[in-house]
Structure formats: C-alpha cells, structure tokens
Subunit: 320 residues, 2 copies
C-alpha cells in the first residue's frame, strides 16, 4: 500500500536543521507558531504554478520544485525583504515517491541557499499544481514599493531579458536556435535566479521596484500606473544574452520586451544614487540602465538606435 | 474581451475597509507588508481544496468560497489563535466573473464575520482549486499543541460528528435519508463552522487540541501519537445530530468515528478544569465529553453501552 498523506509529509517535508528563525512550532501541528523580531515587519507573498500553464508538462520534478520557490522568492526580492519562512501546498495526481523526492530536492537546493525554513504545508490529491507562500523580514518602515518612481529616475533591469520566453519557444519548436544555447536557456526557464541579494541592497537606493514575471513592458507598466508616471526606453540598452543576440533583432526585442518568466528585477533610481547602485551591485549581478521615468507621464515610449519610435505587437503575458 | 488577471484581482480581491491590523501594504504590490504586535506570535496554516476531491464538482461558488476559508480557520481555532490576515491563491478553468463574484461573496461572508483582512493573492488559469493561508495572533508562549495530552485527561469534542460524511453519502445516493434533514446536512458539508471562539478560550483549560478534518479516530490518533498516550471512548457519549440518530446506529457511529470534513475540535482537559470549560463554552457551542486519556498508552479503545469493545472498519479519510 502506498504511504498516506501524513507518512509522505513526515518523509519528505521534514524540515532541515536550520537556525530557528523564531520558530516555536513548525510542521506537524494544526498551525506553525513563529515570531517576528522587534523592529522588523513581515513581507508575505504567494504564487501558484499550474502544470501545463506555468511550466511545460515535461518539466522535471527537480526543476518544478526549484522554480516554484524561485518565483516566490523573486517577489520578496522585489520588496527588498530577507526570506525566512515558507509554506508549501502541493497537489499531486498520485503519491509518486520518486517524483516527490525529486521535487523536494529541487526545492531544498534553493531553500538551503537562502537558509529558509519550511514551516507548514499541505499535500493533496488532484491535478499537479504548487502554491508556495514565502515570508521575509523587513526593517520596520522599509520596503520597496511600485509606487515610488520619480521624475527623471533612471530605469534599471537586472540580468538579461527574454531568455525564458525564447526557451519556451524552442521547446514548442516555434523557433530554431543553435544547440550551443540550449542548456543556458533551459536553466533560465527552469531555474530562474531570484535577485534577493540585490533587492536587499536597493533600500535607500531605488525609488520603486518590481519583479519581471509577465514581461518588461507589462511589469514596468505597473510601476508607471502606481506612480502616475511615463517611461522612455532605448532598445540599444536592453540587455540580451548571446542566445537572443543570435536571433533576428526584431524577434529578440519582442521577446525581451514582452515574454514572461525571467524573474529579473526592474527598478528606478534617482540620478544621484547611480554611483551607490553601481558599487552595491558589483559582484552580485549584471544591471543595465535602459531608460528614464517622466512624471507626470503615461505609457512607455520605445526608441531605436536612430531615435525612432518602435511599435510592438504584444505587451505581456495574459493569464486568462 | 474578458478581463485580465490584474483587472479581475482589482475587481474581486479588493479588500473591504477593516481595522488595519498592522497592514502597511496589502494587495497590489509584489508582497504584503504587515507587522505583528509586541508580545504576540503568529500562527500560520495553509490548506488546499481541489474540485472533485475536497468538494463535489456540483458545489456552488459561494459554498466553495465559504468552505475554503472555514477549513483554514478551523486550523487556527485548533491553535487558539485570533485570525487576522489571509492570502488566497485561486486557480480557475476560466475567467468566469459570475463564478468569481459568488466565490468572493461566500469567502467575504466569513472574512467579515472574523474581521479578517485579505492581504495577498494569486489568480491562475488551470483546474479549479483553492489554496488559502490564514495567519492569526497568539499571546507569546501560548498555543494549543497536539502533544500535551496527560494521563486521565477528559476527551471532548465540539458540535456533532459525522454530519458532513452523511451529507456526502446522500449526495452520492449511497444512503437515503428523510428530506427533513437535507438542508441541515448540506450546510454542515458546505458551510462548516470553524470553532474559533471556543479555541481562543481553551488556553489554560485544555492540554491538547486538534481539529477533526479527517475523522475523529484519525485525528484523535494524532494527539495520542504526539502525546505518547492512549484513549478510551464510549459510543453512548458520541454527539450525533438528529439526522444521524435517524440512521441505523452502526452506520451512524461509523460515520461519526471515521468520516471527515466536520471541522469540529477534539481536545483533552484535566478533570480539575471541567467546570471552567463548561462555564467558558456556555453560549458558544455544544461540547461533549466522550472518553479519557491514558498515558502512557497506545491506540483507541471504543466501548459500547454494555462495556464491550467495538471494532470499526475504517479509521479515517485517506488522502492518497
């Protein structure tokens, strides 16, 4: 007979030994009991990944475990919070122990890296999906909102854009690329890097921050709407990986602007903080200045090398 | 064109105006930012409900919204915590606004009753399921664990047992009952009452508490295992509703012992707190003393009116 839910939870959700993070009661009771240190607030974010929608059905259990956590950590990164606790609600078509072992191995790789404690979970029977909630500490009164963009702020992004979108297109055989890029692209799709370290350094440097989950234009637009601002972007400054550079330029830009799943940060910084930002980010991750905020303002203006306005077909990933 | 995820979230997840509960940033940014008052800890619990598994596919949107929240609040009740914040991750096959309106109406009915604040959420496309995380305050150092049962503790349950199980059997036409009971049973299945008020009063009264989601025997067994204890129960003391009393007695007891979804509390109380308990619970909900703990001990002994040992077929709901 296969293991029951409780036996599976005991076997696979067993938390690693980590510094206690104020955990008085973790997995195994009706609720976890935790405490937030004085002078700190709690940042909380939740995201669901559904099989066939948020990851291809062929994705390995390890990659699903890794990605589900990474995607959630990316939201905390965009708040500048330090991740501490996580709960995991996993819905599985059957109690496949090999799959669970793989999933938890991917999940734990990232959880260990960030010294995260798994404090609760639920294991249910049904179509494959994962809902994770991550919680992190923020010094009281801090936190990087979407609404703080100011006139003349520089717009930055981390890493390179469009890689996950290209990886998906390759998987669907919509596009052919040199096999030299395959491994890199599949890592970018399945194991995105949440920019937690950089996020934590953006306090007192950035005026507004968001993570790019639905595509640069869609997510930058959230900053603009919340800040009552507009933006101007230069195509020449958009950071592209070698894989994207190898494509037709128009396709590459379309991907960089509008495809989702990159989990890079997009943030705005007053000119006078430029030097601090460059010092702070050195050795952490690539950052690129791609344009400027105008406030008041509306919408995004994209300019090519010759200063001409560029029109794009799609703005971002649509969930329904 | 149907509304996008963001428009749907803005339209339906809009939090009601409630006392702020230390919320500095709610829905609409990358993460919520909240603070826990000094001298309090945070109790956190998460549960997923999958269509066709945790509720019949014919369940109304209103009832799903109500039940998904009730089930989670029941876990906080079993900790004696005061619910404050909730996040909602909803996966829907399509962006059906009428369904969403119904779901949120059921959800909000209960959220308003407990003055809960919805601080975050995710709306995704996929097979219908709901993952909710509830968070509540606990005075520092308090909290009702499963592991505290002591020798000679009285075992109590709230409400009546087996109603949700009978409602399910009626729905599946496994059993026929007088139509006079139909409304009552469907309320018990679809709108369970989380015993939050009673849970809060059990501090300093109960030694151990759990909520009955998988059936009395299965859940009491968690208390016994965590406490290294055994239990003896009398069938004559098991609280049954009129609907169950109308059944063959053996079937009624089987349901009361082994069917899930009642979301009553099961707790153990030292004899000397009996009077305090009865005073505290008066006017809140029915409680029944059904047996006694023996510690050390193992397993559950069930005795009928004549003191003979009773054997049952199934112990509790199995998730896989």
């Amino acid at each position: 007979m296969s293991l029951s839910e409780f036996e599976l939870i005991r076997k696979f959700f067993k938390p690693a030994e980590r510094p206690s993070h104020g955990i008085r009661c973790g997995i195994g009771d009706d609720a976890a009991i935790v405490s937030v240190p004085e002078n700190f607030e709690l940042a909380i974010s939740t995201d669901t990944l559904v099989s066939g929608i948020h990851f291809p059905e062929t994705t390995s259990a390890e990659d699903i475990g890794y990605k589900a956590l990474a995607v959630n950590l990316s939201d905390l990164a965009a708040m500048g919070a330090s991740p501490v606790w996580v709960t995991l609600a996993l819905t599985l078509p059957n109690a496949d122990e090999t799959w669970l072992q793989g999933f938890m191995s991917g999940f734990n790789t990232l959880a260990e890296y960030y010294n995260l404690s798994l404090i609760g979970g639920d294991l249910t029977h049904g179509p494959l999906s994962v809902t994770i909630q991550v919680m992190g500490f923020l010094p009281k009164g801090s936190g990087l909102l979407r609404s703080g963009a100011e006139d003349n702020d520089l717009i930055y992004v981390t890493g390179t854009l469009g890689d996950a979108g290209l990886a998906l297109k390759e998987l669907k055989q919509d596009i052919q690329i040199d096999s030299i890029h395959t491994d890199y692209l599949s890592q970018r799709l399945n194991r995105p890097t949440p920019r937690v370290e950089l996020g934590k350094l953006l306090h007192n440097i950035a005026n507004s921050v968001i993570d790019i989950s639905d595509g640069l234009l869609a997510d930058l637009d959230h900053i603009l709407q919340e800040s009552g601002a507009g933006a101007s972007i230069q195509t020449k400054d958009i950071p592209l990986s070698d894989a994207l550079i190898s494509l037709d330029r128009e396709i590459a830009l379309q991907l960089a602007f509008s495809s989702g799943d990159d989990y890079e940060l997009c943030f705005t910084v007053p000119e006078e903080n430029r030097e601090n930002l460059e010092k702070a980010s050195a050795g952490i991750c690539r950052i690129s200045c791609i344009g400027r905020i105008s406030r008041p303002g509306k919408g995004i203006e994209i300019k090519d090398n010759a200063g001409r306005q560029v029109k794009l077909l799609a703005k971002g990933y649509r969930h329904f």
